[in-house]
Every structure is written in structure tokens, then in C-alpha cells.
């Protein structure tokens, strides 16, 4: 999570996740960061973790990357464990054969539960090897043999996990709603569903829905199955960022800070909690400056990566709009102070917000004062009426003429030569 990332303690960071999740995150950090040190550390940790799995391909790739980075410095380079690679590969081959035999036997017996079990074995095997696409293929086949609702639910969850590991978010919603509709669920399943919805909504930019989903997740319910995807701190982080970017202050207070369940998540990530509290108490400068500090580590988060810039901008805009809400007029100097910036740039930001109609105000650039503008509804209504009637007349006129043209079957067509 980001808070631990700040201290650059990668071990603690990756320790929060299941092996595959940690590998994914470490690989992502290694591919995104521009700091050589961080890159090397991430790859080294990644190598250790990969050895715990049976993913020979990933191991070799990571090692090659590391070799390039550490060129000329062989002492620091961990030894490439050829023995392990060969043994694992052999073992993988044997296991696969074995499992497929099991499968054909189970098919002959036509026991649904057995067939599903065999597919499940194969899925796990591929997952361990890091071949997520193949794992998904087996999983999809196993879905046909699901009888119990629990099995259906588990399958859906595994698919969601695989999708998230491949960073393909669009299908998550599909399977989450399938999981949502299976009967006989307990509370912990509900939390998982909310977490999955949250992830999907965040990745597709629907921050408002994401915030609502995350706020209903109970951290202790996520369990190990979800540790490849999200840690409780992540829930707090994602939830707070989405909420700040989309909800207003009262809602943030009510849905996040006052919520018993979310409070537990928040307490695990004090930095994030302070961010939310600052925002709710209008300490925008503090809130935004700590957000600014977080921005770089956050952009190394695998799921948040694409959204960070957008979210931070939205949070800032939200802050400006809410700051201005109670004023008739406010000095841009004061405002710049409150938002940690200079007068010129706050004026530019405000002008942009007015242009997007998020802020109903006008700038007195000479005296550097921002005035709330009182819309003249009467004039606006009249003008609207005129515009609409004009459009209506023009379009109806055009349509009547067009109707007559069609009646005569008239148009620009190729002239057929009759001769």
C-alpha cells in the first residue's frame, strides 16, 4: 500500500498481499518507476516470490531484466537457479498430465462434482505457473459443472481474481453481478462483492459508485482469497480517494468517517484517514499538500495507476468549488493561500472551472477578486425560448420540404442512361 511505499519498504508493502498479487504489484512498480534503486529492489523481491510459485517463465524474465539493470555488477546479481527451473518445469509437465488423466476419468464417470474438481486442479496449476489466460480457460469450462451456489460463487470470485491480475477490468462487473445473484451468501461474501464492484467502478472512472461500494466493505471479511487483489489498506485508500473526488463534504463524513466498518479500514491507514479528515474540516491546504506528496507513490499502484492524475485533479476542483460555496466574493490572494499556490495559477484554475460550468462565478482580474454571479433566470428563460423556437422552426421547415422530396422520390441519384 502507498503508506508503506512512502517509506520505500517494499517488503512490508508486498507482504500485505497474496503471492500472485505481490508479484503483480512488484512487476508493475519495476516497469513504471524511473528510480533505478527501486526498480532493482522490486525485481529482487519479485524473484524471491516467484520462486515460491512454479512460474518458470516469469522467473527467467525477471532475472533477465535484473541482469540488464545490474550490468557489470555481477556481485549484486542473484544466482540464476537453473536446477530449480528444470525441476519445476518437469514437475509442471508431470502434474499437468496427471490432472488431465484425472479429468478424463471423471468425465467417464460423469460425476459433475468430480469433473469440476479436476478442472479446478488444472486451474490452480496454471495459476501457479502464472499462465492466467489458460487458467481462465479451464475455469470457464468448470463453470458448466457447478451445482452448488457456493461453487458458483467461488468460481466467480476466482474469475474476478484472474481478471484483476491481468488488469482487465471490464468483465469484472459481469461476474460480480453473477456472484451477487447467487443465493445463500454470508456477510463475508457480500464484502467481497462490494470490493469487486468498487474495483471495477474505480477502474472505469465511476468514482461515486466506487466510493459507495468501498465504504461497505468489512476489512476482516476479505480474507485470503482477496489478498491478491486488495488489502484492507487499499480499500481505505481507494475508498477515500474516490469519495473525495466525487462526494461532497457531508457525504464523505457520513459515508466514510462515521461508518463503523469503514473506520476500521481507515485506522489501518492513518495517513489516508488524516487526508479525509482534513478535507472534511476544510483544511484544503494540508489535505492537498499531503495528496501532492502521495501522488507519485500512488501512481505506482497497479489498480490506481490510470486514475491518479484524474482523481487528484477532481479532488482539487472539488475543494475549490466547496471552498467558494459560502462566499459572495473572495480575494484570490486568500484563495491561493488556502490552496497552496500563487495567484496566477489559482486564477487559471478558477477560470477553467468556470468554463466547465462547475463554478458559477466571475473573476475580477484587476482587483483579483472572485465574485459569485447571480444568474439572471428571467433573461436565460427568454433566450432559451427564443433559441428553442428558432431551432424548431428551422428543423420543421427542413423536414416538411424533405417529406415532399421523398414523396416525389427525389434525390441525388446516378442517372441511368436510357439509350
Amino acid at each position: 500500500m502507498a503508506a508503506s511505499l512512502l517509506t520505500e519498504d517494499l517488503e512490508a508493502y508486498s507482504g500485505q498481499y497474496g503471492t500472485h498479487g505481490a508479484i503483480q504489484r512488484l512487476q508493475f512498480i519495476a516497469s513504471q518507476t524511473s528510480k533505478a534503486n527501486l526498480k532493482i529492489d522490486a525485481l529482487k523481491l519479485c524473484l524471491d516470490l516467484l520462486k515460491r510459485t512454479t512460474n518458470c517463465k516469469g522467473y527467467t524474465e525477471a532475472h533477465n531484466c535484473l541482469k540488464e539493470l545490474l550490468e557489470g555488477n555481477d556481485a549484486a546479481l542473484p544466482i540464476y537457479d537453473q536446477v530449480w527451473v528444470d525441476a519445476t518445469q518437469k514437475q509442471n509437465g508431470i502434474l499437468k498430465e496427471l490432472y488431465e488423466q484425472d479429468l478424463s476419468q471423471a468425465r467417464a464417470s460423469q460425476m459433475k462434482e468430480n469433473i469440476r474438481g479436476c478442472y479446478h486442479q488444472l486451474t490452480n496449476l496454471c495459476l501457479e505457473q502464472g499462465d492466467y489466460a489458460a487458467a481462465e480457460k479451464y475455469l470457464a469450462k468448470s463453470r458448466e459443472f457447478c451445482v452448488e451456489p457456493q461453487a458458483v460463487f467461488a468460481t466467480c470470485m476466482t474469475i474476478i481474481r484472474l481478471r484483476a491480475l491481468q488488469r482487465q477490468y471490464s468483465d469484472i462487473q459481469n461476474f460480480t453481478s453473477k456472484a451477487h445473484h447467487t443465493p445463500f451468501k454470508d456477510d463475508s461474501s457480500q464484502s467481497k462483492i462490494f470490493a469487486a464492484y468498487g474495483l471495477y467502478n474505480m477502474a472505469t472512472g465511476k468514482y461515486r459508485d466506487a466510493a459507495t461500494s468501498f465504504s461497505q466493505v468489512k476489512p476482516q471479511d476479505l480474507g485470503t482469497a482477496f489478498s491478491d487483489l486488495l488489502s484492507p489498506q487499499d480499500v481505505a485508500l481507494y475508498g477515500v480517494l474516490c469519495a473525495l473526488g466525487s462526494l461532497d463534504r457531508a457525504e464523505v463524513q457520513q459515508k466514510l468517517l462515521d461508518s463503523q466498518t469503514f473506520r476500521e479500514c481507515l485506522d489501518m491507514a492513518p495517513q489516508i484517514r488524516d487526508l479525509a479528515v482534513d478535507f472534511c474540516n476544510c483544511r484544503y491546504a494540508a489535505c492537498l499538500s499531503s495528496l501532492g506528496k502521495l501522488q507519485e507513490p500512488l501512481s505506482l499502484d497497479v489498480h490506481l495507476h490510470g486514475q491518479v492524475a484524474n482523481l487528484c485533479e477532481q479532488i482539487r476542483n472539488k475543494g475549490i468549488v466547496q471552498y467558494f460555496a459560502p462566499f459572495m466574493s473572495v480575494s484570490l490572494h486568500r484563495m491561493a493561500e488556502a490552496f497552496n499556490t500563487d495567484v496566477e495559477s489559482i486564477q487559471r484554475e478558477v477560470a477553467k472551472l468556470i468554463g466547465q460550468r462547475q463554478l458559477d462565478a466571475k473573476i475580477d482580474s484587476h482587483r483579483k477578486i472572485l465574485h459569485a454571479s447571480h444568474a439572471d433566470h428571467r433573461r436565460a428563460t427568454y433566450q432559451n425560448a427564443l433559441r428553442v423556437s428558432g431551432d424548431f422552426l428551422d428543423s420543421t421547415h427542413a423536414l416538411i420540404l424533405r417529406m415532399n422530396l421523398l414523396k416525389h422520390d427525389f434525390g441525388v441519384h446516378l442517372v441511368r442512361q436510357k439509350k
Binding site: G355, I363, L386, H397, I400, F410
Partner: protein, 437 residues
């Protein structure tokens, strides 16, 4: 020749069947007439243009198509008079030769030069009105009239014709084949609206010009017309000038034109540069594409669009700022460091009523004010005017509806539906009222 003149004399009565007989006869004799074009002048002298409109029209058509004049000026003057006095009843009967005469007459006027063109306008308008069933009907002569107007640049006369809304086109109902000149061809239809738009551009009524271009653009089509292609370019440029952005074409535009509108051309590039309000990019495009733009004779419009880019920028500034210094406006509008130019544009915009603002020259500040119109009286009048037009147009729509509801095929179809619905009533709800639509 004499026998033809004789026939015309005897058959030019108020009697329907006589006129029809005469028409058939003359159509039959067309070749003979053409062969004897040299004698037509003489024959025409013997005919009274009011009494024998039909005959005169046919004789003139033959003479003009043969291209034989003993004295072109005299013929020109003769047609002038003929179009003015011709009998509208007979003119409608002879729509085909009349249209041909008008067309050749317009061409003749253009060939003869400016005074002739000016002289030809009144007769053309008179001829046009005689061919129309109602003032709302488009005839091929419309396009000719506008063409002559454009040539002599008398936009106000053309504007009078354009003020009359067009709702229908004249399609000769008889057994005439589609190549009869009285028929509005796609070409003359498109030319009319294209020329109309040019006239509106000439009189600086850009919104109306856009409307006319849209008619040409949305005409049903299964292949692209060069007129439409040119109209689209003008449409984009005008849209940029008036709205600062290109409004999408209506959904019922033919897919041919939709596709054309997406193909690469200099107007697309210009529109793209408008989106980012990048004046230097626009300038560069104009320089690069100068030959193409000049070939389309769109240079003037392009320059106007360029000028309006800054104006649109300033217009948006008025919505964001109360006061702004001239130098800030300059940098916002993409005219670095030249405050004099900005001041000139502002001055122009203020005096044209586009924006409400005051310039303080001492401090170099501009303060924008809210537009303050007379809301009560003026607005009332404007709204009333619009309302009257809307009532008129809705009247028209209800006529259409009545026409459809009482038409034979409609009644037959709905009664069929009624019957089948009755059959199926046992089976459950059958919502045939939806299908009535």
C-alpha cells in the same frame, strides 16, 4: 410555317382540349420548327403573346435551341416583354418550353453583360411566378434567377425571393419523361439552395445561409454531388464563423454525405485547429492549403473564420471575467503582446453589440458587463413573431396529417390491421395503435 401559325391562332382559346391539341401538335412539329428557325422571327410578330402564350413559348424554344437570331438584342427585348405579359394559365401548360426559354434567356442575359442582366431580372421573376402553382413551389427557374442575381451582385433582389419559404418542388405530373426541362432536377434543386446560401453570405445573414446549405446537404442522395461537396465546405467554414464550432449534420443526412464529411479535407483541419483555438496552427494550414482553398474560392470565408476565432475566444472570456487587462486578453486570445490589435477587435465587437464591455485606456483594463436588453417590449415582439410562425407551421403539419389519414392506402392498411387485430383478440393484447404511427 404559315400553317403552324394558323393552327396556333385557331387553337389558342380558353378551351382545355384545344390547348392540349395545340400542345401535342407543336411538340410534334418541333423538328420542323427548328429547321425553319430563320422564319420564326417573322412568325412571332404575327402572334399575340398574351393570347398565344403557349404557341409563342414553343416557337421561342425552337429558335433559342437552334441558336439562330437575326438580331439578338431584339429577341432579348421580345422575351423580356413576353415573360412579363404571358398568360399564366397557358404558361403552366407549356411549362417545359417556358422553362427552356427562361434558361436560355438567363444565359443570354449573362452573355450580354451587366445592363442586360439587370434588365432580365424582372422578366425572369415574372416568368417564375407564372410557372409556380403556389409561391412555395420550387421551379428550375429559381436557380437561374439566383444565378443572374449573383452575377450582377444584386443580393437584395435575390433575398426577396429567398424570403419566401420553399416547401415543395414542381414535378410535372403528366406522362412527361424525367428529362423534361420543367422538372426540378437534383442539380437545379441543389443549385438553388447553394446559390441562395451565397446570396445570404453576400448580405451577411450567415445563420440563414447555414440553413440553406443544410437543405442542400440533407437532400436524399445515393451518390455525392459536386454541389453538395462544395456546400459542405462552406457549411463548415460558416459554422466556425458563426458558432465557433461545427454543428453535427442532422441524423437524416444521407450516409454518402456523412461519409464525405469525415473524409480528409482542409476544412476538417481548420475545424480541428478551432477546437484547440490555435491561431498559429490555423494560419499555417491556410498557407499550406492555399491553392486548394483558392480553387474552391473559399479564401474570403476562411479569412473571416480566422478573424472570428479570436472573437469567440473573447466572447467566452466575458462569461468568465468581470475585468481583465488588455494584455491578458491578448495572451488568452492567442495574439501575444499586441494590445492595440486586441483593442481594435474589442472596439469593433462592442460597437457591433456582440459584447457589452468598457475599455479603460488609462489603466489598460477592460470591464465586461452583463448584456442589458429591453426584456419586455422587444422580447415580447420577438416571441410573438416566433409564435405566429410556429402556429403557421403546425397548421401545415396538421394538413399533412389529414392528407395522410384520409388517403386511400392508409385507410386500407389500417383497416387490414383492425381486422387482423380482431382475429387475434382471443390471443391477448394486440397493440395496433402503436402501428398506426
Amino acid at each position: 410555317m404559315d400553317s403552324i401559325v394558323h393552327q396556333i391562332h385557331t387553337l389558342s382559346t380558353q378551351n382545355e382540349s384545344d390547348l392540349k391539341k395545340l400542345k401535342d401538335f407543336l411538340r410534334h412539329e418541333q423538328e420542323t420548327l427548328k429547321a425553319n428557325a430563320s422564319q420564326i422571327d417573322q412568325a412571332l410578330q404575327a402572334l399575340d403573346p398574351v393570347q398565344c402564350t403557349l404557341g409563342t413559348a414553343f416557337l421561342l424554344q425552337a429558335q433559342l435551341s437552334a441558336g439562330f437570331f437575326s438580331n439578338q438584342r431584339a429577341t432579348f427585348a421580345f422575351i423580356c416583354n413576353f415573360l412579363k405579359v404571358a398568360d399564366s394559365q397557358q404558361a403552366k401548360k407549356a411549362a417545359s418550353p417556358m422553362t427552356a426559354v427562361c434558361r436560355s434567356f438567363a444565359q443570354m442575359a449573362i452573355d450580354l453583360g451587366q445592363p442586360a442582366m439587370l434588365m432580365s431580372l424582372k422578366p425572369l421573376r415574372a416568368g417564375l411566378e407564372k410557372l409556380q402553382d403556389t409561391p412555395e413551389t420550387l421551379t428550375p427557374v429559381h436557380a437561374e434567377f439566383l444565378r443572374v442575381c449573383l452575377k450582377v451582385k444584386v443580393y437584395h433582389i435575390a433575398a426577396q425571393l429567398l424570403d419566401q419559404a420553399i416547401y415543395d418542388i414542381s414535378i410535372s405530373t403528366g406522362g412527361n419523361s424525367s428529362n423534361s426541362p420543367a422538372q426540378v432536377t437534383p442539380q437545379s434543386f441543389l443549385s438553388f439552395f447553394y446559390y441562395g446560401a451565397l446570396v445570404r453570405i453576400g448580405t451577411r445573414e450567415y445563420a440563414k445561409a447555414i440553413q440553406l446549405l443544410l437543405v442542400a446537404l440533407t437532400c436524399p442522395a445515393s451518390c455525392l454531388s459536386a454541389i453538395q461537396a462544395d456546400a459542405y465546405k462552406k457549411y463548415v467554414l460558416l459554422c466556425l464563423k458563426v458558432h465557433g464550432e461545427v454543428k453535427p449534420l442532422p441524423v437524416y443526412t444521407s450516409h454518402i454525405l456523412q461519409r464525405y464529411s469525415k473524409s480528409a479535407s482542409y476544412v476538417l483541419e481548420i475545424a480541428e485547429s478551432f477546437k484547440t483555438a490555435d491561431a498559429t496552427a490555423l494560419q499555417r494550414i491556410i498557407e499550406e492549403k492555399q491553392p486548394a482553398i483558392e480553387a474552391d474560392q473559399n479564401m474570403g470565408l476562411v479569412k473571416q473564420a480566422l478573424a472570428s476565432m479570436q472573437r469567440h475566444k473573447i466572447l467566452t472570456l466575458t462569461k468568465t471575467y468581470l475585468t481583465l487587462s488588455l494584455s491578458e486578453i491578448a495572451s488568452e486570445a492567442g495574439m501575444p503582446t499586441d494590445t492595440n490589435e486586441v483593442e481594435a477587435i474589442l472596439f469593433d465587437m462592442i460597437s457591433e453589440g456582440e459584447i457589452k464591455a468598457r475599455i479603460d485606456q488609462q489603466t489598460g483594463n477592460v470591464s465586461f458587463e452583463d448584456a442589458d436588453e429591453n426584456l419586455d417590449m422587444d422580447m415580447m415582439q420577438k416571441l410573438q413573431g416566433k409564435l405566429a410562425k410556429i402556429i403557421d407551421i403546425s397548421q401545415r403539419i396538421s394538413w399533412f396529417e389529414q392528407e395522410v389519414v384520409t388517403s386511400e392506402s392508409y385507410v386500407r392498411k389500417t383497416s387490414l390491421l383492425d381486422m387482423s387485430a380482431a382475429d387475434r383478440q382471443v390471443g391477448g393484447a394486440m397493440s395496433y395503435d402503436v402501428m398506426d404511427m
